[in-house]
Symmetry: C2
Subunit: 520 residues, 2 copies
């Protein structure tokens, strides 16, 4: 077998990640380097610009790179037929033993920042190809400017625009109540939120003016952005107090340095740690990337924009918690969209606590809620438009043996039979359905090939962020206070505790309480 | 001393670059890695965006990176006083024992492709930060489109627009004769040539429609672009003939892959080899960069845009050769501008032969022609506006000892005295005057600090081009025929021989005939 996943416990027990390495912090470096080494380094020769390698394909970042060249897959079952593979039987949500709803909430917010496929042309992207928190700060300097308070007066330097609802700070509302008129003419440069044009006024009135066009998608994505907004403004206040000669611009820019890196710390130390099947915690150690052969310019791939469609993680309804202006109630998934009223009603601590208190769905086939099935159609179609190669081609590209039987893909006979009926041969299975049909890796919320692809792209892109690079990762960039704050932050709960009037009793975790690893 | 320059002969003789390494081709890798290792790797923490490290400074490529943070230099003599340091005594041009005029011609064309400081804001750039031949193809896909013939008909696929004057192919003229009206409405997206607004019609009529706004600067820069235009169209014809199913787009894109890499080969194997004091030839071996810790995203620096102001390389007049429509004559430097008539009159082979037959000026103080002295003022001013640190700060940053006396900078007593009079102390000497005042390195046309900076940026940026990367550098990217053509091309003369009706007797070299290395 020999892959980093299969021998994870062997490694942890001694042969690869020995006691010394673990104590010295080197275990993370071993895991990261082995995870990335399963496939080819960037730059990728292929992109969605052309079927062959060329200068514009290599450099025009409005196109996506690709791990494998385009291919014509032999069988493309009608999307309606494929729904049988994805659809969750009514009322029979399969729940994850490991994940809370904070996991899909964070995954969605994170990936909305860099998987930014154009809606009208799935070969193109508006991504900056970096973890830059464009969800909070916008994609461009102009958008950042519109979101900034921009007041170079003492006590307000470096802040993002915000409003207070009671003791709770939120982004400003984007529209004037009951209208589609912007509340602030500066917001005209922002990307228009991806919401229904016919969204009724009570919901539209609560949309936030933010950096990302998908931040308002659900109260959960808005919740995470709100947390980072508060942390930005809190950090800006601290920086201003500690550096009274700094102007608005410098306070803003250095606060952004700190917030982006705090976010990357959470990506690795909270989110990736939840994803891996490893019973020990990886650290976000920038030094692992400094000499790595995989430290190459980041570029989103067409495959990466397909692996993150984790619709089955969503239960059929969200158990919304009680708060100052609301009693606890279930919100059907179809209503958990484009509406920040639930968040405003209960406040940030209750919203996070609710997400961490509810089990997520299990990722995989036969578990997508009816409310989201139409999005599975879009994923299938996106892969076909971009001529993504077969599932087996990607198994090979990421260091796995090709599946020679349907049982190699799923040990669930119902799923294997559905695949056989749709494709006839394992070699004909399409990338996206195959990816989602696989068994989950023991102790991970993800199936095997998907886990490998996520690991490669997560590590090789997060840890090569310019703010973590050899001559930037230091106290001069973040201030000594900021560098210490970064070091002291690993999880969303660390940030939440600093930014709510009162922290509740629920631990803010992506892993369910009582979870234990198989061999621990 | 211990630097790669000082022990070049030691190395060549045995201890560092031994016989085995030389035979196996490893000598180039040793030299390249040692040259780049004299200073810090990218990403640089500082940029012209702000005086501190921040996300926009790290990522907004309309600003320049900087090797050292901004500093306030203590003494800024009036530019008029500094002219005494640069000015060539009338009629006493110091000629280079090593370089022909092909050397400055190529240096100017090369650097006009990526040192693209904005004229109205010297902190900003329009550079793509890569060797991408934007001089030939434009900076943007729109500009490339305007320059392409775009005819998807057999026999014309993948070509750039051109015209024939007799048997000689040139770019189309940009303007209709006697007017400022574009000859082709598509040319409206091109960057306007940086020429005098009052340029008289006979000269304006001969400006070419090209990718770079500085290609028409002199008949020498236009000559090099013309050579690459012909090679592109020749390669496109070959690709079309060998791949009859390819459309216009593919022929163009693959021809561009080949031409960019041919150009990089010439940069390393012709131009850099002329610059180094090494008596053996470096090879453009892409593999040296594949695992290198200096393989990081390219970014032009504020210092790099100052080190390439080699005005003293120009003699006071250019000895223009005879040709079908012209007799040999001298063109004063002030007239050798924005006028392609001399090139059109003699054709490409005569123009190259003339450049290779005339000695260049010697780079350094007291040798800038009166016609170019006003540009030295601009260089001094550009460094000051960008608050570039002192000359000694850069000596230290690039691994040299700081100068403790003026004799450490120049052994010419007149130059040392001028510096002392201007600055009082070696620590106060500004970057640009110090750089140009130094003694030349034995057997190199460049002085020491300048040579180090050029070597770092040349190797670490040229060899990290995406077309040379590990999974792109192969026959699939260039076709087997194209890959062989690249391998067979080292020098400008190789390309010229393929693209003129008749090659003359003059070798097309940057090094003067009869030049020999000191210890050879």
């Amino acid at each position: 077998m020999g892959s980093w996943l299969e021998d994870r416990l062997l490694g942890a027990a001694g042969s690869v990640i020995d006691g010394w390495a673990w104590l010295s912090g080197k275990a993370s470096a071993v895991v990261v380097n082995r995870a990335v080494a399963v496939t080819r380094n960037r730059p990728h020769p292929f992109s969605t610009f052309a079927d062959y390698t060329c200068w514009q394909g290599l450099t025009d970042r409005s196109y996506l790179a690709r791990h494998l060249p385009p291919a014509d897959v032999p069988v493309q079952p009608p999307e309606a037929d494929l729904r049988a593979l994805f659809a969750r039987p009514a009322g029979q949500a399969l729940l994850s033993p490991k994940s809370t709803c904070l996991f899909p909430a964070f995954a969605q917010y994170l990936t909305d920042g860099f998987i930014r496929t154009k809606m009208n042309n799935v070969a193109q992207t508006t991504s900056n190809h970096e973890i830059d928190l464009c969800t909070l700060y916008g994609r461009t300097p102009d958008q950042a400017r519109a979101l900034r308070l921009g007041a170079d007066v003492s006590g307000k330097r470096g802040r993002l625009k915000s409003q207070f609802v009671g003791a709770e700070e939120f982004s400003p509302f984007l529209y004037l109540p009951g209208t589609k008129d912007l509340s602030d003419p500066a917001f005209a440069v922002l990307d228009t939120p991806l919401v229904d044009d016919s969204l009724p006024s009570p919901r539209r009135d609560t949309l936030f003016a933010v950096g990302g066009d998908r931040v308002n998608s659900t109260p959960h994505t808005a919740m995470i952005n709100t947390l980072l907004l508060r942390e930005h403004n809190r950090v800006a206040a601290e920086l201003e107090a500690r550096n009274p000669t700094w102007d608005d611009e410098r306070v803003f820019q250095v606060a952004r340095n700190i917030i982006i890196v705090i976010f990357i710390k959470i990506v690795v130390e909270h989110y990736i740690n939840h994803i891996t099947p490893l019973p020990f915690s990886l650290r976000a150690d920038p030094t692992v990337a400094w000499d790595a052969a995989w430290n190459r310019p980041n570029r989103m791939t067409v495959e990466f924009s397909l692996v993150y469609r984790w619709h089955s993680l969503m239960p059929d309804s969200i158990a919304w918690p009680a708060g100052p202006k609301a009693v606890a109630h279930d919100i059907a998934l179809a209503d958990f969209l484009q509406d920040n009223r639930p968040l405003l009603a209960v406040g940030l601590d209750a919203a996070f606590s609710g997400a961490a208190a509810q089990a997520a769905g299990e990722l995989g086939a036969l578990n997508t809620s009816a409310a989201l099935l139409h999005i599975e159609d879009r994923a299938v179609s996106q892969a076909r438009t971009n001529r993504v190669a077969t599932y087996n081609a990607y198994r090979v590209a990421f260091g796995m043996e090709p599946a020679t039987s349907f049982a190699d893909i799923s040990t669930n006979p119902e799923i294997a039979a559905l695949l056989e009926n749709l494709y006839g041969s394992p070699d004909r299975v399409e990338f996206y359905p195959g990816l989602m049909a696989e068994d989950r890796v023991e102790d991970s919320p993800l199936p095997g090939l998907l886990l490998r692809i996520v690991a490669v792209d997560a590590f090789s892109q997060a840890l090569t962020n310019p703010l973590l690079s050899e001559h930037v990762w230091n106290e001069a960039t973040f201030t000594p206070w900021g560098f210490e704050l970064i070091g002291a932050t690993s999880k969303l709960g660390d940030v939440l505790a600093r930014n709510v009037p009162k922290r509740g009793p629920t631990p803010i975790e992506m892993t369910r309480p009582g979870w234990s690893y198989t061999d621990n």
